[in-house]
């Protein structure tokens, strides 16, 4: 099955630069300090943030900054067939590490010495782009928890079919041999890249195009996330009677 038809439509009917529908929700888990639910197409992710709080293991604490722990896991029902995954699953460990690295450079950790911030991300339904969705959900959850950050960390994946870059790959597209999969995460205000991965091979000339496509995708997602955060803030502020809006 061709990922991109000669008429310029992908298998689900999107054009190469169109994202899937995105929905978000914040503050849904009361016991967590911050939480967010993030949906991108059929990929559904739940993120919960605890912290900053006192470190559980004294030996791991840092004297001048907070440490960030991250746990990424996929629910057994998240893929088409029920698959039992152990916690130490290689892929989960890799993605947990990636998310941690993104936020270590984004969160203002120097404000909270000798503390830890825990980020838990659970994939409820996986249809491609799970690590990007995980990062976006975690960003929103951190904001919900009120943890100060330099900027949003926004992630999006891109690929390319026959030289045409496509943004936001779903499961069929990222597992297909016809397109490489390049998930990236950026800080939108400065366009600094905090995560860049790629599988398959890509010619150096095409790389620039695909990277730009992913960055544009991140910006589109950023707009949606900012709108959501503003709405949420308005809600909170009016419900506490602080401002009449």
């Amino acid at each position: 099955m061709d990922l991109l038809s000669p008429e310029g439509l992908r298998i689900d009917g999107r054009r190469p630069t169109e994202l899937r529908n995105i929905q978000t929700n914040m503050g849904l888990l009361q016991s967590a300090d911050g939480s967010a639910y993030y949906e991108q197409g059929n990929t559904k992710v739940l993120a919960a943030v605890y912290g900053p709080r006192e470190g559980a293991m004294r030996s791991k604490m840092h004297h001048d900054k907070a440490i960030i722990n991250c746990e990424y896991s996929m629910a057994t029902f998240s893929t088409g067939e029920r698959k039992v995954r152990s916690k130490g699953d290689r892929r989960s460990v890799e993605i947990s590490l990636i998310i941690r690295q993104v936020f270590e450079s984004t969160v203002l950790v120097n404000l909270f010495p000798r503390s830890q911030i825990d980020i838990y991300v659970q994939i409820l339904q996986a249809d491609g782009g799970t690590r990007c969705a995980a990062i976006n959900a975690a960003s929103l959850a951190l904001i919900d928890a009120g943890i100060p950050m330099k900027d949003f960390a926004v992630a999006c994946a891109a690929g390319c079919v026959d030289g045409t870059p496509i943004v936001d790959l779903n499961y069929r597209e990222d597992s297909s041999y016809q397109s490489p999969d390049m998930p990236i995460a950026i800080l939108p205000k400065s366009n600094k890249i905090t995560m860049l991965q790629m599988d398959q091979k890509l010619h150096l000339d095409t790389f620039e195009k695909v990277l730009q496509c992913a960055v544009d995708g991140c910006h589109q997602i950023y707009d949606i996330m900012v709108t959501k955060v503003k709405e949420r803030t308005e809600e909170l502020v009016t419900s506490r009677g602080v401002l009449q809006v």
Binding site: M1, D2, S5, P6, E7, L9, I11, D12, G13, R14, R15, E18, R20, N21, G41, N42, G80, E81, D127, N170, R172
Partner: protein, 774 residues
């Protein structure tokens, strides 16, 4: 503009047989109606009378061959069916795409499933076929209500027909469409329909083996267990065939497929998968068998690697010219193809008495495992056997050369040019080109030549230097990339020259008038202008678009006469004679030096004599003459080679990965055996290690061999050559671009854009590189 409406829920069987439930997103959008409107805008003269056909799934599968016919246009394939076909029947899907990719057929795949106005969700408990029917009806309804297209649903499905009639939508059968709009295709329709009715003939031939499963073949080829190649049936013995291997295969040059059983129903030209037989099954081709061998020897050193065909990857599937066998009776008859490499074909026809003396076109459909012969169907007829016109058409058909006229829509974009209103260069275009109309430019061609694609100019410069220009007709200015005319020229590829006629790649109005560099009028050209020293060494090169005004259209004989100071020419040209003669002399001197350099680098010259036929008023040949070769012809050829080399180098510099070059690989040493044996009869040893040693050795033969013997040696040498090929520079190493015959490191076909499509591509390349106008 995009709305998510649905999740497509599908149940798919995995390789192990488990059923999985898959959910996929499905978006609909509003911006697809533009595809349809684009069709409407292309209101081309001859397509506006034809309705827009929307075939249903069964119609597509059954009548695909009719839809593929070049005459049938205006087809809208609904995405509902192409989506399913891409998965279940890839070969039909590819053919549909071939139809929509061909601009001349004015057809599209319309994405009705992703279009908001024509998308419909599957209802609870509804079968998917019923949902598809509803989707098609919505499409037709939308076409009728929102566009001005005269659209027709073509279906034989009863439910669909009755429902459309209720909606007031036009429904026809394929036969109705053909009878009303394409009556010349009625034969084709009959044969397609009769094909479906025919039962499988069972010859009870039981020796063919089943083909291996596709996945087994694919993985076998990847792992090297099986070999993929094109099957080449032996011209002289149709029981034997070969599969060519690449140059570096350890098995040798080819795999031999002896006999019909091992060939397993493959037909000459098919791409097949071969399994090599174990060594003890290897035999020798019949041409090596000596009649004197009465004993079967256990060691026969003519045994070659043998194999058997285990699968057909793709059929070559062209139309074959055939004739009926004598005494053909009954409705299923065998026909003999004109091409000896193709087996007899079984067809079904009711027109036997009519066809018994004609050459007919037949297409092969399939070859069942229990059948002795392949099944095919009658496509059309060419003419009476033995008549000159018929036989010429047979040759053209067998070589897949199209003889259709250029359609009015292809000619629509060309400027007008007639006696009262001849085409002229346009001032603004002249502004954007280098104006060299004041140069003395002339062309030298065969007498009576109308399609002049090249012209030369030369000026003396101080310091014993010369400015030499080769000016080529600018075809790309008139034939825009991907216009209908461009697509047609591309599919023709080259002009074809027969004894009494020429089948043009481009319409006459271009080839003989507007593009042709006629004398006395302004013409657009693409020029290569060198500054050469007296030895022909290039000091500077300029490429670019120019405007020229050729002063003289010379014939080879005229140019030759001028060079030899012929008094008639002196009188004819008057005052112009002296400068023209000086130019020709200067060109001649440079030519001698340039040619000498090339030949001493190993360039070969084995051209045999060329023959020209004399025809009477009926067009029948009555005599032939050997064309006299004049040195002027070599002069022109040498400068064209010079230009091609310069352009090839320049293009390669700018497009190192994707330049179209022409390479001539080294011949295989063993092909020189006949030549070496012939020379050895007079104790001469031909050194074939390089083109230079080869030409030197052959020249040495001058002393020992008579003139006609030397001609034979040249011919034997030519036979050893490989064919020159067009290549993309990115696919080969730099040293492989070498042209053995011409002894140049880079070569291409830039100089004949009117009669060779490669020349036209080159013009595009040159234009794409920024050139200096000064």
């Amino acid at each position: 503009r995009m709305k998510r409406v649905d999740d497509r829920i599908l149940f798919i069987k995995t390789k192990r047989g488990k059923i999985r439930r898959i959910v996929r997103e499905h978006y609909t959008r509003r911006d697809l109606s533009e595809d349809i409107f684009l069709l409407q805008d292309k209101e081309l003269v001859e397509v506006s009378g034809y309705p827009y056909i929307i075939p249903d799934s069964a119609t597509i599968t059954k009548y695909l061959e009719v839809l593929e016919n070049p005459l049938v246009k205006n087809i809208i394939f609904p995405q509902t069916f192409t989506r399913a076909l891409q998965i279940h029947n890839l070969s039909i899907y590819k053919k549909i795409r071939a139809i929509t990719d061909d601009d001349r057929k004015h057809s599209i795949v319309f994405n009705n499933e992703n279009f908001t106005n024509t998308f419909t969700k599957k209802r609870e408990g509804e079968y998917y076929q019923d949902r598809n029917d509803r989707a098609i009806l919505m499409l037709i309804k939308w076409l009728r209500d929102s566009t001005h297209l005269n659209s027709v649903l073509v279906s034989e499905n009863e439910t669909l027909r009755s429902q459309s009639k209720m909606m007031g939508v036009n429904v026809l059968s394929m036969r109705d469409i053909i009878q009303e709009y394409y009556p010349s295709l009625i034969d084709l329709l009959d044969s397609v329909e009769s094909l479906l009715e025919s039962p499988d003939i069972d010859d009870a031939f039981s020796e063919y083996a089943d083909y291996y499963d596709e996945t087994v073949i694919e993985s076998g080829i990847k792992s090297g267990l099986y070999i993929r190649g094109t099957i080449d049936v032996d011209e002289y013995n149709s029981d034997e065939a070969y599969i060519s291997l690449g140059e570096t295969n350890k098995l040798g040059k080819s795999i031999f497929i002896p006999g019909k059983v091992l060939r397993n129903r493959a037909i000459h030209g098919d791409i097949v998968a071969v399994e090599v037989l174990p060594k003890n099954h290897w035999v020798s081709p019949s041409r090596f068998l000596n009649n004197k061998d009465t004993e079967v020897s256990t060691y026969n050193n003519h045994d070659v690697p043998c194999g058997r065909i285990i699968g057909i990857i793709s059929r070559s599937n062209r139309d074959y010219v055939c004739t009926l066998k004598e005494n053909s009776t009954g409705s299923y008859i065998l026909v003999d193809p004109w091409d000896r490499k193709i087996p007899s074909i079984r067809i079904n026809t009711r027109q036997q008495e009519n066809l018994i003396d004609k050459r007919i076109l037949v297409k092969i459909d399939n070859w069942p495992i229990s059948s002795n012969f392949p099944n095919g169907h009658y496509v059309g007829h060419i003419g009476v056997i033995g008549e000159k016109e018929t036989e010429i058409k047979v040759l053209l058909a067998e070589n897949e050369i199209s003889i259709d006229n250029f359609t009015p829509s292809m000619l629509a974009d060309l400027p007008d040019n007639d006696v009262n209103n001849p085409w002229k260069c346009n001032d603004s275009e002249i502004e954007s080109r280098r104006d060299i109309r004041n140069w003395r430019v002339f062309s030298i061609d065969p007498p009576g030549c109308q399609d002049i694609d090249d012209a030369l100019s030369i000026q003396e410069l101080p310091g014993n230097r010369y400015r030499v220009g080769v000016h080529i007709a600018d075809v790309t200015h008139f034939v825009k990339e991907n216009s209908l005319l461009d697509v047609e020229a591309r599919s023709r590829g080259t002009s074809v020259y027969l004894v009494d006629r020429r089948i043009d790649m481009l319409p006459t109005v271009l080839s003989e008038r507007i593009c042709s560099l006629r004398s006395g009028t302004d013409r657009y050209a693409l020029s290569v202008i060198w500054e050469l020293d007296e030895n022909g060494k290039i000091m500077d090169t300029w490429f670019g678009r120019t405007v020229i005004r050729s002063s003289y259209e010379l014939s080879y004989y005229q140019a030759h006469a001028i060079l030899n100071d012929n008094p008639e020419q002196k009188e004819f040209f008057g005052d112009d004679y002296a400068p023209l003669k000086a130019d020709l002399h200067n060109l001649f001197n440079l030519y001698t030096k340039i040619r000498k350099k090339r030949l001493s680098a190993g360039g070969l010259e084995f051209d045999g004599p060329e023959i020209k036929f004399e025809l009477n008023e009926d067009g029948d040949p009555i005599n032939f003459k050997v064309k006299k070769e004049l040195e002027v012809m070599k002069l022109i050829a040498e400068f064209m080679i010079f230009a091609n080399v310069s352009v090839a180098k320049k293009i390669y510099q700018h497009f190192p990965d994707s330049a179209i070059l022409r390479r001539h690989p080294y011949p295989r040493e063993d092909r020189f055996d006949d030549l070496k044996d012939a020379a050895y009869t007079k104790n001469i040893d031909i050194d074939v290690s390089s083109n230079l040693t080869l030409s030197k050795s052959i020249r040495m033969c001058k002393r020992n061999f008579a003139p006609n013997e030397r001609k034979m040696l040249s011919q034997l040498a030519t036979r050893a050559m490989q064919e020159a090929k067009y290549i993309s520079s990115g696919m080969f190493e730099t040293h492989e671009y070498y042209h053995y015959g011409l002894a140049v490191p880079y070569y291409t076909h830039f100089t004949s854009p009117i009669r060779r499509y490669a020349g036209k591509i080159y013009e595009s390349f040159v234009i794409n590189i920024r050139c200096d106008r000064s």
